[in-house]
């Protein structure tokens, strides 16, 4: 595949690694903000290639992980309404809400459909005019413009049976909130490459300016990630802190202006709750008044539909879940009492384990078994 394969060449990785080793003289913590980076790092075995001095921390850039349980609850009660077709990206199916998951609801008869693109939600609304099609809109700045453009299309065509359960979030404010919490010690950020194709490099400037931390906007192929780690180490060694674009072939400093305009037209910025991080001001998107009739929360009385109490057995099962701390990078998965006992990728309790990009899911697959293999334990 053109412009993909070239950035996976082993010979070039072998040139970068000694350069990285040279600069990794002392322990350094690098946070990859975006879930897709977490997956790329795992999938290509990059941790295994890096010197032991470099610790890669996974940040809150996993939209599946940070969507609060209350949003899932809203999606669930909507899917239980007669005449409603809930449409969602596949990753959300297994995420735990406060009392159930979409996957279980579908097994019990709710109309829920998995799609790969928000465009399909529009197609479904047009195909089934008697159904109320509700799209669970999650994702960061890469995805929200695509949703915004479909919302504009629905408005233009006067589609009256398509609604959006809006849970979009913004990445830079979350990075700021993490740094403000002072709980973690990060020496550099790998910034999300595709979010940056939309927003450009300016929204990250406050990080080197106000916190003195280097930022490199990184592509997703192994060579991109390795080169970005090298650039971060280089900034650190030279005592510099700035926003650098490694992913030059796709990211312009100004980003994608058309996409930004579409976002501005449809959404306004609002405060938002993040699972694990709590409330972060100006970190989410809200539909503007003009599009209020497409906002499921303004059209349905969701409060009356949501259950008043979380069932006892659910509260017991989730007691002790450290997803919050893990998302903030202050605890690691083995420190969670549920990790690998009641919470595994096959029976996930918390969001960090559900998402294929989640820290716990990745840790479980990569580290856990090697450490606890009977031979290694001395049996």
């Amino acid at each position: 595949m053109k412009w993909l394969d070239e950035f996976r060449k082993r010979e070039l990785a072998e040139k970068l690694l000694p350069k990285i080793e040279e600069l990794a003289r002392e322990p350094v913590n690098i946070m990859d903000v975006c879930g897709t980076h977490t997956v790329a790092i795992f999938r290509h075995g990059i941790k295994d290639m890096l010197p032991a001095n470099i610790t890669l921390l996974s940040g809150p850039g996993c939209p599946v992980c940070v969507t609060p349980p209350s949003e899932i609850d809203k999606a669930i009660v909507l899917s239980r309404q007669p005449g409603v077709l809930l449409v969602t990206f596949g990753d959300m199916m297994r995420v735990p809400g406060n009392f159930s998951r979409l996957e279980n609801e579908r097994a019990r008869g709710a109309q829920i459909k998995v799609v790969y693109s928000v465009q399909e939600a529009l197609n479904l609304a047009m195909k089934y005019p008697l159904l109320k099609v509700v799209f669970l809109a999650i994702g960061f700045e890469t995805t929200s413009p695509t949703v915004a453009s479909v919302i504009m299309e629905a408005y233009r065509q006067n589609i009256l049976n398509l609604f959006f359960l809006n849970a979009h979030k913004l990445i830079p404010p979350a990075m700021g909130a993490l740094l403000d919490s002072k709980e973690i010690n990060i020496h550099g950020f790998l910034c999300p490459g595709h979010v940056s194709t939309i927003i450009g490099s300016r929204p990250y400037e406050f990080i080197p300016q106000d916190y003195g931390i280097p930022c490199v906007i990184s592509g997703f192929e192994p060579l991109d990630i390795l080169q970005s780690i090298y650039l971060l180490l280089k900034q650190r060694t030279e005592g510099e802190a700035k926003v650098e674009i490694q992913y030059q072939r796709c990211v312009k400093p100004e980003g994608n202006i058309v996409a930004q305009q579409v976002l501005q037209e449809v959404f306004e910025i609002d405060g938002s709750f993040w699972r694990g991080l709590g409330y972060i001001p100006r970190s989410g998107l809200k539909l503007r008044e003009k599009y209020a009739h497409l906002d499921v929360e303004r059209v349905f009385d969701l409060d009356s539909l949501l259950p008043k109490e979380i069932p006892q057995d659910v509260r017991e099962e989730t007691a002790g879940c450290l997803c919050g701390e893990i998302l903030r990078g202050t605890e690691s998965p083995p420190q969670c009492p549920l990790f690998a006992t009641t919470c595994t990728p096959y029976h996930p309790v918390g969001a960090c384990m559900v998402s294929s990009e989640g820290t716990c899911a990745t840790y479980y697959k990569y580290h856990y078994k090697v450490i606890t293999s009977p031979r290694k334990r001395g049996e």
């Binding site: 082993r10 290509h44 290639m49 279980n104 097994a107 090697v370």
Partner: protein
């Protein structure tokens, strides 16, 4: 959130499927032959060794590039028998038809089955036909059972696997799953992909002619290569390591996997096998596979290692190493 209902994920061939089978389904019937949970049950009577197997087919859509549910049904069961080293002899075919199913489609499917049976040189000798009301079956479901004979000197099972053995795959991975996915609603790409659905008994026969040191055979259907290698590793004890660069993968399947965010190692195949063989015989066996029409792309992709036990490692294209884990969740429902 204790599971009180069957989830779609229970059918995907990964961890949840295993758990459902081991903890719920096998329980009432527990016996030594069943407990081995191999592709075929092996038993001896009158000095003869038999392999017996059954499979149900619920693939959606029924017709896909490179095949249909009928071809899948014949090949699937023939292959389960072949993987225990058996010569497949006879099959049964049970059809559950939905009210309203077009007769023309039924005829096409039956003709596919006839062709596949001819290719495999087996005969369908018994069957059953039921009809259910509209909405009670998705068009057509097929169940096949098959019986075959294993020569007395052939011993093929995970318990034969030894450290140092080489791992061979007979062809490209992911073709079937991706071809089916491309036909499904909602996926907008047009590809040149076809399912690899094929009977492998003659391929296995050729391999057995050439070597007596074939330790284990498996066809990576649901859950793909990852599921099969993990199952074999857990059942036999040692670990495995495979090299991403050596695994045959078509450009389009790789592209489709990247687009959908699916791991091709977890995608179903219906016309390839994995063979674990003595390291001294590996080259000879691969050469023999390549001479057959079904195995032109065969490669040695890895080996069995002592540690980490019961786990499969992958040396990635760029040079890192990671765990190739058992699939979780519903990757591709109704794939076979």
């Amino acid at each position: 959130m204790e599971e009180k209902h069957i989830l779609l994920a229970h059918g995907s061939g990964g961890q949840l499927t295993r758990e459902l089978i081991e903890k719920v389904i096998v329980e009432p019937f527990r016996n030594p032959i069943l407990s081995l949970l191999q592709d075929s049950a092996i038993f001896s009577r009158e000095g003869l060794k038999f392999a017996f197997t059954t499979d149900s087919f619920v693939v959606k859509p029924i017709f896909f590039p490179g095949g249909d549910i009928g071809r899948l049904a014949i090949c699937g069961t023939v292959n389960d028998l072949a993987m225990s080293g058996a010569v497949p002899l006879y099959l049964s075919s049970s059809l559950i038809l939905e009210e309203g199913f077009p007769l023309g489609d039924l005829e096409k499917i039956l003709d596919s089955m006839r062709q596949a049976a001819e290719e495999a040189e087996i005969t369908v000798i018994t069957g059953d036909t039921k009809v259910v009301e509209k909405e009670s079956a998705d068009g057509i479901f097929i169940n096949t059972a098959g019986i075959g004979l294993i020569k007395n000197d052939v011993e093929i099972s995970p318990f034969q696997i030894r450290v140092g053995d080489k791992i061979i795959v007979s062809g490209y991975i992911g073709d079937h799953g991706m071809a089916v996915l491309s036909e499904r609603e909602g996926l907008s790409f047009r590809t040149g992909l076809k399912s690899d659905c094929a009977p492998l008994n003659k391929l296995v026969a050729k391999m057995l002619q050439v070597s007596k040191k074939i330790h284990c055979l498996r066809d990576p259907t649901r859950g793909g290569l990852a599921a099969v290698l993990n199952e074999l590793s857990r059942q036999s004890g040692p670990g495995m390591i495979i090299e991403e660069e050596k695994v045959p993968l078509r450009e389009e399947v790789k592209a489709a996997s990247e687009i959908l965010g699916i791991d091709p190692f977890q995608v179903a195949n219906e016309g390839i096998l994995v063979a674990i063989v003595d390291s001294q015989e590996a080259e000879k066996i691969v050469a023999a596979i390549r001479e057959t029409p079904w195995g032109k792309a065969a490669e040695i992709i890895g080996e069995v290692i002592p540690y980490p036990e019961g786990m499969v490692l992958l040396k990635t294209g760029v040079g890192g190493t990671r765990i190739l884990d058992m699939p979780a969740g519903e990757i591709l429902p109704r794939i076979c």
